[in-house]
Each structure stands twice: as structure tokens, then as C-alpha cells.
Amino acid sequence: MRGLRRFAPGLAVIATVLSGCGGGGRGVPMDDGKMNMQEAAERADFLLDGTLQAVKPGVAWSHGVTTTGNCEVTRRRVVMTQISEQRRGSFLGLVDRYWRSTGYEITAVNRSEANPAIYANSADGFELGLTFGYKGQAFLEAATPCVRKSEVAEPATPANAPRPEWPIPRPDTHDDFWSSTDALPSSSRSAL
């Protein structure tokens, strides 16, 4: 704030610059147009595939709704395995460790017991998120950076537990580990 005040007389210049500032998705594509929205979506799918593969034991999952803007795409995955409250921390910890080991930067966490979440950025500008929603259901999301506009196809990777994308399918798959309500040994800790 103080720095800006120093330049108060130059505000006219800033105002001229800012008048090009828009409100909705008006980012300038990065990457000198090497990547388009379809390619970015495929990369997002790749990041999500990797994340789900890192979860052991594996979980059942289905594709969520894809949303596209002017230059960016958001891909979603819905976990169909019932994850108990007692296993929530392990799930978070697993994904957190995988993301860090892959070199993503953890950017934020939501320190809620009912709806915990972690968010990470990849070096090439993709954002990943793991959230726990209604009744402890796990959701994954990947958002692309702003790239060249193109059509975006549905994800190529087949879901291992395909469900209709809407209304949001609630978890219907039991897993001996993830759905267990037994307390874990204290050596397992959550990322939060």
C-alpha cells in the first residue's frame, strides 16, 4: 500500500494499463500457444490418473463433470469407495505424500475435520485439489492453466467404477481397508 502511494501521481499510467483488465477468464494464454485446451485436459487427466494410482489399496472412482471456460478446463473425479472418518487422514496423507514426491507444491489446506482438503500446483501451472464432501466422500479436481482455445473431448481413461456424472453419484463401494472404522496404529498421521 505504501509503495503504491509513492507512485500516486503515476496512477494515470496504471489506470491506463489496468483498463485492459477484464473480469472473467481473460487471462492471456501461456505456453506461446503450444498447448491447447484438449491437450491441457489430457495432461490434467494424466495428473489425476497418477494420483489415483498412488492410492493403495486402490479405490473405485468415476468421472465427474468437466467444465470449460475461454481458455481453461477443470476435470473432476468422484471416489465411489466409502472412506470412513477413521481413514480420511490416511487418504489425505497418501495423496499429500505422492504430490510432494512428484514435485508439486502444496499451496493450501482446509483444516476442517468434516471437509478437509489439500491443494497443489504443478510446475507447469496445473492445480490439483482433493476435497472431502458430503458424508465423507472424496473428490479430486484438476484445473489447467489458460491455454489456446479448442474443443475438449470427454476423458479417455475409462473409470474403474463408471457412474452417471449427474446427480453426483454417492459412494456405493465397500473396501475392507478404506471403509473400516477400526482405529489405525498411531504411526499413520494425516497431512494436516
Binding site: M1, R2, L4, R5, R6, A8, P9, L11, I14, A15, V17, L18, S19, G20, C21, G22, G23, G24, G25, R26, G27, V28, M30, V65, T67, T68, G69, N70, E72, T74, R76, T107, A108, V109, N110, R111, S112, A114, N115, A117, Y119, N121, G125, F126, E127, L128, G129, T131, G133, Y134, F139, E141, A143, T144, P145, C146, E165, W166, P167, I168
Partner: protein, 551 residues
């Protein structure tokens, strides 16, 4: 032009033509052709005008009670009778009586037609409709006069009788056209949205269909009409709007067209959650109100006001709609109850920092409140959870709305992102309690760091006097606590008292386009985390909002 409007304007032409046909010749007819003398002719004209004056005050009341159509039909029938009797009048009493009847009836036709114009138009189309009415009236008068002049022959009363006979026929045709207009139940004018909801519920199905067919621009944009109905009316109208713009060939039309086509594509491809088009229009920078999810059947509804630089264009159709859809999806993950997320472009957002005053926010705030009031009226639940979201200048609009007595109708939570100030200095002044005002701001977002006008003035004066040191000193004097922005206190400051949700820093300014962090709240970098923060609030789970930097 809608069917009803075409009928109305046809009615205009006919009544004007009929008048033009006869009124210029009235004096000559009475004085010489019927040989009643110039004195009588003068009195006839006076009676013609006075009868109109006497009856007009009652016209409004009659239309309020019965609607303009019955009044129009009655007036047209009486005018026909008056014209015919004038054509046959050969005595002074007959001439005077006919003049009274004709004068009063033709005068009542005018306000009835104008009322129909008001019913079947919105503020944007109304001016054009009135202009058309005026044009057609004068055209009718002129042509009527010319044609009448060809027919009459001073020596032959029969030609005048023919003239009045044709005029009477015109009025009967007008009555016939009016009878085919089915809008006989008056819509309350200038009423609250709840009144419009009751009015709509009270209409018979055939009348509802008539309104949908004849006045889609009215029904589609009227706060208080159920969402599914507005959606149907606006979808029907979208094609017309696109065709209208396609006929123009200027830059603005092309931009608008791209926006409308973008919305049309999403309507056609379906997608989830389902899209409801609650408003569409060409006035100003364009109007579009798009809901993901049905706001009438949802327990949780959010309405987001976009900001600086927004207009009805392709960026809006894809960028702002993606934001609204993302919030709907995010909130739907968090609750078992239905949600709806609305992008509300119901005002003219300023297009540049240089033109950022408070006028747009004030008028936008009024429109937004009316819209929210409509949501409350049509939502099926007694007390749905409503969240008002303002982005950038939109937050100033939300602030303006919240300052009206009673606050934003139905709003339980207010979210402000990228806010340059909201016009109040304390969160509790926004009408929802300070615990229900949430603010997100990224460090790199320059817009939230615009100095207040006072600071700028003081700083500039200081600079001119004493260089950078003077500027700093003067600016500091103008904002001692360092928390004033362009529109008042920074809502992310502690003194404002709102609940701040931390978002990771956006990319540095000018590193990737102009001020990318400003529009980054729902996009890359802070996109998902801040979008999820908003989703928690919208889903009524703000207690679980505990976003922080990782350890």
C-alpha cells in the same frame, strides 16, 4: 416484434388512418355540406375535444380494473357508432351528439393502446415501441387525410357519409383485432416480485400461454415469475435476439452475438447441472442471468455479480458461466440438498478502471435486490439459504444492494472477492451480520490495492509540493490506518471485520497478461482452493471453511 405488439401497432395505424380520414373535413362537413353553419361547426369541434377531456380521467381506473383490452374494444365500438352517426347527422343535436361520442371514444383508444405497449415491452424495447407508435400515428393521419381528400366532394353529402362509413369500419376492425388479443388480466405494474408471483399463479393456463407467446420478453425477465417459466420464455426469445443482431453489421453486434451464441450452445448441449436462463436482453452492455440448477427447488442458492470489464460477450458466456457452474458443482459435492448457482449480469459493469464510479453499482444494486426478492418469492422453501457473491466491481454492487433498508432480500451470506472496497466501512453494515461476510483477497491482486481517491489527491498534491516524500506524507495523512481503497475501507482489512479466507498468492502482476491475479479467484493458481472456499459458504458449510497455508 411480438405478436401482441404487431397487433397493437396495427391498431395504431387503423385508428390514426380513420381519424386522418375525417377530422380535417369535419368543419367543412358540418358548416357547409350539412348546412348547419360555421357556429355549429365550431361548437362541434369544441364538443369533440371536451368530451375527450371529460372521459379521459376515468380511463385509467377502468383499465386498472378490466385491463386495456375490454376498454379498447368498447371504445372502438363506440367510436364506430359515433362515426356512422356523424356521417348521417343532418341536424344540430345529431351533430353535437355524434361529436361527443366520437371524440370521447377516439380519445380513450390512445391510452388503451399505450397501456398494451407497456405490458408487452421491457424498458429496452419500450422506447422503440413508443417511437413506432408515434410514427405510425402520424403516417396514418397523413395518409388518411390524403385519401380522404380524394374521395370527398363538397357538393355531395353522400361522399362524406362514405368517409365516415369507412372510418366506422376501421374502428370495427380495430375492435376485432383487439378481441383476438388474449391479455385481458392486468399485470400489476411497478409491484413487488411477490405480487407478480401471485398474479402469475392466479392466471388461467390459456392466459399464461398467451403471455408466453405474446410477451416473452416481459415474462422472461420479470422477477417473481417462476424460474422454469422464465427459462422457457427466454429460450424462445433467444433465437429472435440472435436473428436481430445478425441483421446488424457493427462491432458491438458481433461481440454481443458471440456472447449469445456461446450461451445458446450451452443451452443446446445440455450439460450438468441443468441450465436455466432467467434473463436475457440487449439493453446497455447486455443482460444475461444464467442459473446452474433450478433456483426454485434448491435449498442453497448463490447469485454472483461479475465486475470490471464484464459485458455480454464470449468471455462472459464461457468464463463467467464456468465460474457459476464450478460453484454449483463444488457446492453440490458438499450437501445432500439441491443447489443452484447463478451468474447475474443484470447491470452495466464499468468497462475500465478509469470509469469506475459508484453510479453503476447503485443502479445495479437496485436491480440485484429486485432479482433476489424474486428468488425469495419463487423459491419453494420458506427460508432457502441465499448467498450473494460480488467479484471486483461486482462487490461494490453487492455493497450498494446491501445498504438498502432490510439489506439484500433473503441473503444469509455475502462473499466478496477481489474487492476494491464495497462502499461501507464495516462488515456489519452489510445487513447479514459480520460473521456472515466473507472476503477473499490475493496479495498480488492490484485492484484490492487501489489507493482511495483521497489518498491519490493528497499524494498528488504532496508530490507536486515536495516530491515523493511529500506524496507519501500527504497520502498517509489521508489514510492513517492504511486500509482505505478506491471505494472505502478494504474489506480484507482487520478493521472491516469480515471473515477473511486466505487464498494463495496469485502470479505476480504483468507476468502473465494484465493483472491476471484479479480474475484468478476461480481460475488457475488460486482457482480450485478459492472456488472450494466459496462452495463451502454457498452450501451453508462456512463453519468448515478453514483455509490456510500449508505447514
Amino acid at each position: 416484434m411480438s405478436t401482441a405488439m404487431r397487433r397493437i401497432q396495427t391498431g395504431n395505424v387503423l385508428s390514426a388512418f380513420g381519424l386522418g380520414f375525417t377530422v380535417p373535413y369535419l368543419y367543412v362537413y358540418v358548416a357547409q355540406v350539412r348546412d348547419l353553419g360555421s357556429g355549429t361547426a365550431g361548437v362541434v369541434l369544441a364538443v369533440f375535444a371536451t368530451a375527450a377531456l371529460a372521459l379521459l380521467p376515468f380511463t385509467g381506473r377502468a383499465m386498472d380494473r378490466r385491463g386495456p383490452v375490454p376498454v379498447l374494444i368498447a371504445a372502438a365500438v363506440f367510436a364506430a357508432a359515433g362515426a356512422m352517426s356523424m356521417g348521417l347527422a343532418s341536424s344540430v343535436p345529431a351533430a353535437l351528439a355524434s361529436a361527443a361520442l366520437l371524440g370521447a371514444a377516439t380519445a380513450v383508444i390512445q391510452p388503451a393502446l399505450s397501456t398494451l405497449i407497456v405490458w408487452c415491452s421491457t424498458p429496452s424495447t419500450r422506447t422503440r415501441a413508443y417511437a413506432m407508435q408515434f410514427f405510425l400515428q402520424n403516417l396514418g393521419l397523413g395518409i388518411g387525410g390524403l385519401v380522404g381528400g380524394q374521395i370527398v366532394d363538397q357538393g355531395s353529402p353522400g361522399t362524406f357519409t362514405l368517409l365516415f362509413g369507412i372510418e366506422a369500419a376501421m374502428f370495427l376492425v380495430l375492435a376485432g383485432i383487439a378481441a383476438t388479443a388474449r391479455l385481458s388480466r392486468p399485470a400489476p405494474s411497478g409491484a413487488e416480485p411477490a405480487a407478480y408471483r401471485r398474479w402469475w399463479e392466479g392466471l388461467a393456463p390459456e392466459l399464461r400461454d398467451a403471455y408466453m407467446a405474446d410477451c416473452p420478453e416481459l415474462i422472461g425477465n420479470l422477477d417473481g415469475i417462476p424460474a422454469a417459466v422464465r427459462d422457457r420464455a427466454n429460450r424462445a426469445r433467444l433465437g429472435d435476439l440472435i436473428a436481430e443482431l445478425g441483421r446488424r453489421d457493427d462491432e458491438d453486434a458481433r461481440t454481443r452475438l458471440a456472447g449469445l451464441r456461446g450461451i445458446e450452445a450451452q443451452l443446446e448441449s445440455g450439460g450438468h447441472p441443468p441450465l436455466f436462463l432467467l434473463g436475457i436482453g440487449n439493453e446497455g452492455n447486455g443482460r444475461a442471468i444464467v442459473s446452474f440448477g433450478n433456483p426454485d427447488t434448491a435449498r442453497n442458492v448463490s447469485a454472483y455479480v461479475p465486475g470490471l470489464g464484464t459485458s455480454l460477450d464470449e468471455d462472459f458466456a464461457h468464463g463467467d458461466l464456468k465460474r457459476a457452474r464450478d460453484v454449483a458443482l463444488g457446492a453440490a459435492r458438499l450437501t445432500g440438498r439441491p443447489v443452484a448457482s447463478i451468474a447475474w449480469l443484470g447491470y452495466d459493469a464499468p468497462q475500465g478502471v478509469g470509469v469506475m464510479g459508484t453510479g453503476a453499482a447503485e443502479s445495479g444494486g437496485v436491480a440485484y435486490n429486485r432479482f433476489m426478492s424474486g428468488l425469495v418469492a419463487t423459491n419453494q422453501y420458506e427460508n432457502p439459504h441465499l448467498t450473494a457473491i460480488g467479484h471486483s466491481y461486482g462487490s461494490r454492487t453487492v455493497g450498494a444492494a446491501a445498504r438498502h433498508p432490510g439489506g439484500i432480500p433473503g441473503a444469509d451470506d455475502i462473499v466478496l472477492v477481489g474487492s476494491p472496497g464495497v462502499g461501507v466501512d464495516r462488515a456489519e453494515d452489510l445487513g447479514v451480520g459480520k460473521g456472515h461476510v466473507f472476503v477473499g483477497a490475493a496479495e498480488n491482486d492490484l485492484v484490492t490495492k487501489l489507493p482511495s481517491p483521497r489518498e491519490v489527491e493528497a499524494g498528488t498534491a504532496g508530490y507536486l509540493i515536495a516530491g515523493p516524500v511529500g506524496a507519501r506524507a500527504a497520502g498517509h495523512l489521508a489514510d492513517r490506518d492504511d486500509d482505505d481503497l478506491w471505494f472505502g475501507r478494504d474489506p480484507a482489512s482487520k478493521a472491516f471485520g469480515a471473515r477473511r479466507f486466505a487464498v494463495p498468492d496469485g502470479p505476480p502482476v504483468l507476468s502473465d497478461g494484465l493483472v491476471p491475479a484479479h480474475s484468478e479467484y476461480f481460475e488457475r493458481g488460486n482457482g480450485i482452493s478459492s472456488g472450494d472456499a466459496v462452495a463451502l459458504i454457498v452450501a451453508g458449510k462456512s463453519d468448515e471453511l478453514k483455509m490456510a497455508a500449508p505447514r
